[in-house]
């Protein structure tokens, strides 16, 4: 069967040797088993992320995203542009929406794009999508379930959807307060989805850098809630969430005498393991807090 083709926008953190290298590593097995072909957008640039606002301003950030869209449109015509990073996805999707809604914005954007000899047409039906959308809408839970060779039996996972994977767009048909798709994916691979209060809470995002105390307070609540509800690990669709929640646990322990050591994984790593991926293929070796249960399953 022919693979489904997508333009792929990895984003800065998902590059080799970057903070979400483990995330992108796990895409291999997952996409392979599910018949997904990701075609990287040539010479893509950073989306500007939300945090770019202070210095960047509105149109420059718009133009950054428009350039990626314009390249994809030109080089990978007709393909939906997919990202694994919610911030990247949000940047693209907001750009698509606003360029459609505001003709002036589109004119201005294309004026700037002339500098790189590009024009954003926005005439095709290609959409900006998050990887989870592809899995849920194009592949489906049943197909994911069917690809499982090593069910994650007995693993209790707190699905952490966070912010930008959920708001303002989120996954069609899901609620902002209690989206269920991540839980359903967790269940599809045979693990147990743990209900807890912090599923859509904020980890502080980029303010983890600038307002560490305030952000770590949020992170602590997330991790503790997962513990309180019996989770073995957290799974998320967002590199920034993953990094913040994983990396700062040691900091929090140091400051508050807590003993947090909750592995934080990507959904794609769960899928990869369940689909038979090795520790390396699933990027499990990329964890600061190793997910031993998963490594055990992957190592079998």
């Amino acid at each position: 069967m022919a693979k489904k083709q997508y333009a792929f926008y990895p984003g800065c953190s998902s590059q080799k040797g970057a903070s979400a290298a483990n995330y992108i590593a796990s895409f291999g097995v997952m996409c392979d088993k599910l018949g997904i072909q990701l075609n990287e957008v040539p010479d893509w640039n950073c989306c500007g992320a939300s945090i770019g606002y202070g210095e960047g301003g509105e149109l420059p950030r718009m133009v950054l995203n428009a350039r990626n869209l314009a390249i994809a449109e030109k080089e990978l015509p007709g393909q939906d542009i997919v990202s694994g990073c919610p911030a990247c996805w949000l940047g693209l999707r907001e750009a698509v929406d606003r360029l459609h809604e505001h003709p002036q914005m589109k004119t201005d954007t294309n004026e700037a794009l002339k500098e790189v000899n590009l024009t954003y047409q926005g005439t095709s039906n290609a959409k900006a999508r998050h990887m989870t959308e592809v899995l849920i809408e194009d592949i489906g839970y049943e197909a994911m379930k069917a690809a499982v060779v090593k069910p994650l039996d007995g693993v209790k996972i707190a699905g952490y959807v966070g912010c930008q994977a959920n708001r303002p767009y989120g996954i069609a048909g899901e609620s902002f307060e209690n989206p269920l798709y991540l839980d359903r994916m967790i269940e599809a691979v045979g693990a147990e989805a743990v209900p807890y209060e912090q599923k859509v809470a904020c980890c502080g995002g980029a303010l983890a850098f600038s307002e560490p105390e305030k952000s770590q307070n949020l992170i602590r609540q997330i991790v503790e809630s997962a513990y309180d509800n019996g989770a073995d690990m957290i799974a998320t669709p967002c590199p920034l969430c993953q990094a913040n929640v994983e990396i700062y646990q040691a900091e929090i322990n140091k400051k508050h005498g807590t003993k947090l050591a909750m592995p934080v994984l990507y959904y794609s790593q769960l899928l990869s393991v369940a689909f038979g991926g090795s520790i390396k293929e699933a990027g499990l070796n990329g964890q600061l807090l190793r997910a031993e249960q998963l490594e055990k399953i992957a190592g079998k």
């Binding site: 609620s175 902002f176 307060e177 209690n178 209060e197």
Partner: protein, 431 residues
């Protein structure tokens, strides 16, 4: 199929709530022939499910009794319950209407003696109590139900339970062989008094109606406070059956919200103000007093309702917070909802625990069992403005979010508009 039973001089009123009953009666008491169709087994609509009215704190059943008396005594009104309009064709002065009549499985022989109910054991959700309680599958819809006739739920129609109900009836009133019927009639004009429904609270996700047992809607709260309701009038919260004394009322639950209902539902402020007085009456003012907190954006107690608002403002058991509550979380220890938000009058952050939260849910046009013809003109919130041919009218809450008093005015006006159509038709026929 039943043949035509009406003419172009007949007014069809769709919906047997207070607006429909009013529209039908005002015309009938002018000597006009009216057919009043109601989709449920009894008249009264949503007002019958209210405990009391604001601002007089009087009882809906009081006016209902008069209206029923008017209907019982007026040969010009023909009431058809369990009936829906499925199609309307034709134009002003001459409409062909198709009605679907669902089986009640109980005939006019019924004396409401109650023996069938005793013979049946299975229960169904009591829609009169918004599903907060159950009722026998052979039941009288409510104490004042008109027609005063039992209903057998379709779920037991073909079962041994159904047979038991039939056997228990000494008056051969149970007919399990009843089938859905279609009726065709010609009428001159149609008044759509199809009413409203409470906005689906599940859609207001931050408030967790679907997740927290002790978050309920304002219409459910009416049933809780009604001595004829599921708790005998005691304010017992659904989560654990405990008495709720510290109650939050959240205004604009769905209303004035472009994510939900863009319009203001008009009634909710007054309804919550009224409901604080239920709490007050239940617990008094002293040591044992209850506590009501209203979270609001604007208190829309317009015109003479202002008096009521001022009275409640002076009530020491009631406080007001100008704030749209941001979200509710549940205290896992005790099941109490905790409200998070900011009082915008001066910027005060709160996270307040209550025993029970009542969402003042908005009004939207009822659509279940309502099939409006294409000719109907709707406003941006789907309330009925009229019809293109000028021969059909909205009345009451089907035409706008209205309180009962205004709904009755609207229905009375709609009744005259219908008579104008009939008059024109009659003049044409005479000519």
């Amino acid at each position: 199929m039943t043949a035509s039973i009406a003419t172009g001089q007949t007014i069809l009123v769709v919906g047997g709530g207070i607006s429909g009953m009013t529209a039908a009666l005002e015309a009938a008491e002018c000597g006009k022939r009216v057919i009043l169709v109601e989709k449920t087994p009894s008249l009264g609509g949503r007002t019958a499910q209210l405990y009391r009215y604001f601002p007089k704190m009087c009882y809906p059943s009081c006016g209902m009794e008069i209206n029923l008396k008017r209907i019982k005594g007026n040969p010009n009104v023909r009431v058809m319950t369990m009936t829906e309009v499925t199609a309307v064709s034709g134009s002003r002065g001459n409409y062909a209407v198709t009605l679907k009549v669902s089986p009640r499985y109980v005939t006019e022989n019924c004396t409401a003696c109650g023996e069938c109910g005793k013979a049946v054991t299975s229960e169904v959700a009591d829609t009169f109590n918004y599903g907060l309680s159950k009722v026998k599958a052979a039941y009288l819809p409510n104490a004042m139900a008109y027609p005063q006739r039992y209903v057998i739920d379709p779920s037991i129609a073909g079962t041994a339970e159904g047979e038991a109900a039939k056997a228990a009836c000494k008056y051969s009133a149970v007919d399990l062989g009843m089938k859905e019927d279609t009726v065709q009639l010609n009428v001159g004009t149609v008044v759509w008094a199809t009413g409203w429904r409470p906005y689906d609270a599940n859609k207001i996700q931050p408030y967790g109606y679907d997740r927290f047992a002790n978050v309920i809607t304002s219409v459910e709260f009416e049933r809780l406070c009604d001595p004829h309701g599921p708790t005998g009038g005691k304010i017992l919260r659904p989560g654990d059956g405990k008495e709720a004394k510290n109650i939050a009322f959240i205004q604009c639950a769905g209303s004035r919200d472009e994510n939900h209902l863009p319009h203001c539902s008009r009634i909710c402020c007054m309804a919550s103000l009224k409901q604080t007085q239920y709490v007050r009456e239940a617990y008094g003012e002293g040591e044992n007093a209850g506590k009501s907190t209203i979270y609001y954006i604007d208190i829309r107690a317009i015109d003479r309702f202002e008096d009521f608002y001022q009275m409640v403002q002076k009530d020491p058991t009631v406080s007001f917070v100008k704030s749209k509550v941001a979200k509710i979380v549940e205290n896992k220890e005790n099941g109490n909802p905790i409200l998070h938000g900011v009082d915008t009058e001066g910027y005060h952050r709160y996270d307040t625990e209550h025993d029970l939260v009542v969402l003042a849910v908005g009004m939207e046009p009822e659509v279940t069992g309502v099939k409006l013809p294409d000719d109907i003109i709707l406003d941006s919130s789907n309330f009925i403005e009229g019809s293109k041919d000028g021969g059909m009218f909205g009345a009451g809450a089907a035409s706008s979010p209205l309180d009962v008093n205004r709904a009755v005015q609207s229905a009375t006006a709609a009744s005259l508009k219908a008579i104008q159509v009939i008059h024109k038709t009659a003049s044409t026929e005479a000519a």
